[in-house]
Amino acid sequence: MTNLYSRGDRLFVIANMVLVGLFTISTLYPFLYILAVSFSSGFAVTSGQVFLYPVQLTLAAYEKVLSEPMFWTSYGNTFIYTFGGTLMSLLLIVPGAYALSRPQLIGRRFWNLFVAFTMWFNAGLIPFFLNMRDLGLLDSYFGIIIAFAVNGFNIILLRNFFESIPKSFEEAARMDGANEFQVLWKVFIPLSKPALATITLFCIVSRWNGYFWAMVLLRSEDKIPLQVYLRQTIIELTADDEFAVTLLNADYSFETVSAAIMICSIIPVLLIYPFVQKYFNKGILLGGVKE
């Protein structure tokens, strides 16, 4: 085999790695900072000593966080919303995007516009809230799961990907007598692994980070997700103006505790990505059909 890399190529590769490396380091910094804060003492953080590594190393913040039952309850709730929500999203979005990608769909342009329109026009907080109330979906797991299951962006993205799959695959399947469901299941889904992985990731991330609507639509404390709990904790530990109590000598402060909670909520997100990255391998199994 001839030498794959020319001189220019090698330079290119090295410059590439260096630039990527620099950028990566810069984006790593905030994470390291929060990690450091979470393991530092309250005093060290509030007097501004912590920049990159923990000062006055302590587990006090984590102890406080992990010992609160509400932390575990809200963590579990987040899993429910994330898993249930993502599943619901895929169940609705995948067939929908497929249907929208079929050229024989009557009114295709209209339906696509119907979907896209909602990306810019929305009714506002109060009407949405009242609608949920009228549907009886306040303060329920199902309500949160279903009401945010779909968004136009994901549909359009997936539809676009479906449209780019060559017709030959579809035709091969149809010649074998497959109906639409089978075509979707046996042909399109396996061929769209990267796109599906992306959509899944987006759903997971958005559910995981979601707090605003959970805060508005939920009422009982045992249903709140982690992000709402995080916010409650931060607010609770933030001293009131008039009665600002100096926690200078405390082992933990609101900053270290919120940092600890943030780390706990970022860890799963860190672990998810490698799974998704597997699907970004080039060369999907094409097997069977030549262009």
Binding site: F12, V13, L19, N131, E180, P194, K282
Partner: protein, 330 residues
């Protein structure tokens, strides 16, 4: 013989034929539709749940868009609040600071688009060229982290990085012999800092879409290019980029549609009265107005203005794109 009698059987036949063919056409259409549905019902079945979802959750409450035209009281509700037409829009557009906010929003957004839109693409392409899987995967995971870090922390970091006394930037400046600059109070620096922060925070996460698209490229294309003796650089330009062009276009159209949406949270955290002149955007302006007492109606009017302008931009971009590249949102 009267004229009427000259409208004889020939004409009648013609008329009858015409009606017949009209009915025929209608019948044929109905038959075609019936056939079509019999063949394609599965597609419509797949589409139905999503459509119902949109109607129930997003379209049903859209009567709320009226709030922009009403003197809205939460207590009285939409129906009970009086209609005032375009008064809110008059209030907004009669206000110089709102106009300034529109200008700032537009400038920040378009600069962000110009400078920031290519970054995730370039990043994805660069990742694509990394051979070492572990390095690639690790770096990808790290660069997408800032997306998850709350804006309060990000703002805190930005403030301390640019601090005149202890920030790294100013320390470097001083080493080079310059005077320290209180960056976050200087109007000329606000936009670059804000835009830069946004790009840096989101580039990693936004590159995921492009990484997925790149993964979908047929590898045999690369194989034949290697055989033809193409360099990595050429392969990137001639194969990778064109293959992911549809994705890029879709993302671009959507981004154009978000031209008036500059999120107010980070703005509020970073701006100061001294930088309002370049940093105050529509959403932060409304936020300040709204603080005067939950002015939902004014906010709704601004929001509606945003939406209409954005939508017009999107329609234009979409149409152009459809003609030129056959890729479009609808």
């Amino acid at each position: 013989m009267s004229m009427r009698e000259t409208v004889g059987p020939a004409t009648e036949e013609l008329v009858a034929e015409a009606k017949e063919s009209q009915r025929d056409r209608f019948r044929r259409r109905a038959v075609w539709l019936g056939d079509h549905m019999r063949r394609e019902w599965q597609i419509y079945l797949m589409l139905l749940p999503v459509l119902i979802w949109f109607v129930v959750f997003l379209y049903k409450p859209m009567y709320g868009l009226q709030i922009a035209f009403k003197d809205y009281s939460i207590f009285r509700g939409v129906a009970g609040s009086p209609w005032i037409g375009f008064e809110h829009f008059q209030t907004l557009f009669g206000n110089d600071q709102f106009l300034r906010a529109i200008k700032n929003t537009f400038i920040i957004s378009s600069l962000s688009l110009l400078v920031g839109f290519p970054v995730p693409i370039i990043l994805a392409l660069m990742f694509n060229e990394i051979r070492n899987e572990r390095y690639k995967r690790t770096a990808q995971t790290i660069v997408y982290l800032p997306h998850f870090i709350s804006l309060v922390i990000i703002a805190g970091i930005v403030i301390s990085v640019f601090s005149p006394s202890t920030g790294v930037i100013n320390l470097a400046l001083q080493k080079l012999g310059f005077e320290p600059i209180y960056f976050l109070t200087r109007p000329e620096w606000f936009r670059p800092i804000f835009i830069g922060t946004g790009i840096w925070q989101e580039a990693g996460f936004q590159s995921i879409v492009y990484l997925a698209a790149i993964a979908g490229v047929n590898p045999s294309l690369y194989e034949s290019a290697v055989v033809d003796g193409a360099s990595r650089w050429q392969m990137m330009w001639k194969i990778t980029l064109p293959s992911i062009l549809p994705t890029i276009i879709i993302m671009l159209i959507i981004r154009i549609g978000n031209l008036l949406e500059v999120g107010f949270e980070l703005i509020i955290l970073l701006y100061q009265p001294a930088t309002y002149q370049t940093g105050d955007v529509i959403n932060s302006f409304i936020y300040r107005q709204g603080l005067q007492g939950a002015q939902y109606d004014l906010a709704a009017a601004a929001g509606l203005f945003n939406a209409v302008v954005a939508f017009i931009l999107v329609m234009a971009a979409n149409t152009i794109s459809r003609r030129v590249s056959k890729t479009s949102l609808w």
